[in-house]
């Protein structure tokens, strides 16, 4: 499975609410009505986690039947310069088929955030942001980076 990374500027380049809206627009490639409704329903919770700077080191992970998308956010001076920003649209539908979104969350906020998310969506969940390593390790075993074997290709 291939993995695609995007990096969004957040506070103070744009506020946390605007950051979630920008991320949602990236994901809603096909403008799917039910997916849009779910992303909008959890906006306050996701915005709060973005304001907590949870996606600074641990990504928002989007899983679907195609490539996996990892979304990070930039903060402080990094969010004002913009040279590390990559908000380009994706070449695939990141919510194609059975999709799910995992939001990184500070451990102290996990209890209320999970409870609140469950009221609006079964697909959008929160995980302890310190679980990043486990998530990365798990995904690296099933991920592959696509490269062109020029020797084989030209043979």
């Amino acid at each position: 499975m291939s993995v695609v990374r995007r990096t969004f500027k957040s506070t103070p380049g744009r506020d946390a609410s605007e950051t979630w809206r920008a991320i949602s627009e990236l994901l809603l490639r096909n403008g799917d009505g039910s997916a849009r409704a779910e992303l909008e329903a959890v906006a306050g919770i996701a915005t709060s986690l973005i304001a907590d700077q949870a996606p600074r080191e641990a990504p928002i992970t989007v899983i679907c039947s195609g490539p996996r998308t990892r979304i990070y956010c930039l903060y402080d001076d990094d969010a004002m310069g913009g040279e590390d920003v990559n908000e380009e649209s994706l070449g695939f539908d990141p919510l194609n088929g059975e999709w799910s979104i995992s939001l990184p969350c500070p451990a102290d906020d996990l209890s209320w955030a999970r409870r609140a998310l469950a009221q609006y969506s079964k697909r959008i969940t929160a995980r302890d942001l310190s679980e990043k390593q486990a998530e990365t390790a798990a995904s690296s075993t099933s991920s592959s980076v696509l490269t062109l074997d020029t020797k084989e290709f030209l043979a």
């Binding site: 506070t11 506020d15 906006a43 402080d76 004002m80």
Partner: protein
């Protein structure tokens, strides 16, 4: 390549508005209450704080934690806005540890407690959709404990204190 970052007042407004709401969410959670309703109103609250920080009409942000049976205030957290903005100093400052210490000192609120957000503004503020004139609960008999500056960017910031019963 050398990168030059330019501080603007808008950057400071965004940073301070986001971190005021983040701090209040932490206060609610650390007080033993559920912040879900507070974050549900995030965008509306943020719009008002951002607008009135931008126009410099915002004097303070008050989080009232009260007894819903009597409507009496249990504790009120105040963030007083300081307008000393300068483009010279671009450091970011949000002191969550000081807040944690103060909240522990203030104590947990009863699980039945409710909270509400009030914004104290100067006269002549621009209108913000969803916001109108309201009234604060009585603080009679309460004493103020000050934490000092807890949020700041380039001189725009907030000084936090809380009011609680003296007994």
């Amino acid at each position: 390549m050398t990168t030059v970052v330019v501080n603007t007042y808008t950057h400071s407004v965004v940073y301070v508005a986001d971190n005021i709401l983040r701090s209040l969410k932490d206060i609610i959670r650390l007080s033993g209450l559920d912040p879900a309703a507070f974050v549900g109103d995030w965008e509306t609250n943020h719009r008002a704080i951002k607008t009135w920080l931008g126009s410099q009409h915002l004097r303070g942000v008050w989080l009232e934690i009260y007894n819903p049976a009597t409507n009496a205030l249990i504790v009120r957290w105040d963030i007083e806005i300081s307008y000393a903005w300068s483009s010279d100093d671009g450091s970011f400052w949000t002191d969550t540890e000081q807040l944690r210490y103060a909240i522990r000192k203030a104590g947990l609120s009863p699980a039945s407690a409710r909270y509400s957000l009030l914004l104290d503004t100067k006269p002549g503020r621009p209108d913000v959709s969803g916001w109108g004139t309201g009234h604060e609960r009585s603080t009679s008999g309460m004493v103020r404990q000050s934490l000092g500056s807890t949020i700041e960017h380039s001189g725009l910031g907030g000084r936090t204190s809380y009011l609680r019963n003296s007994s």
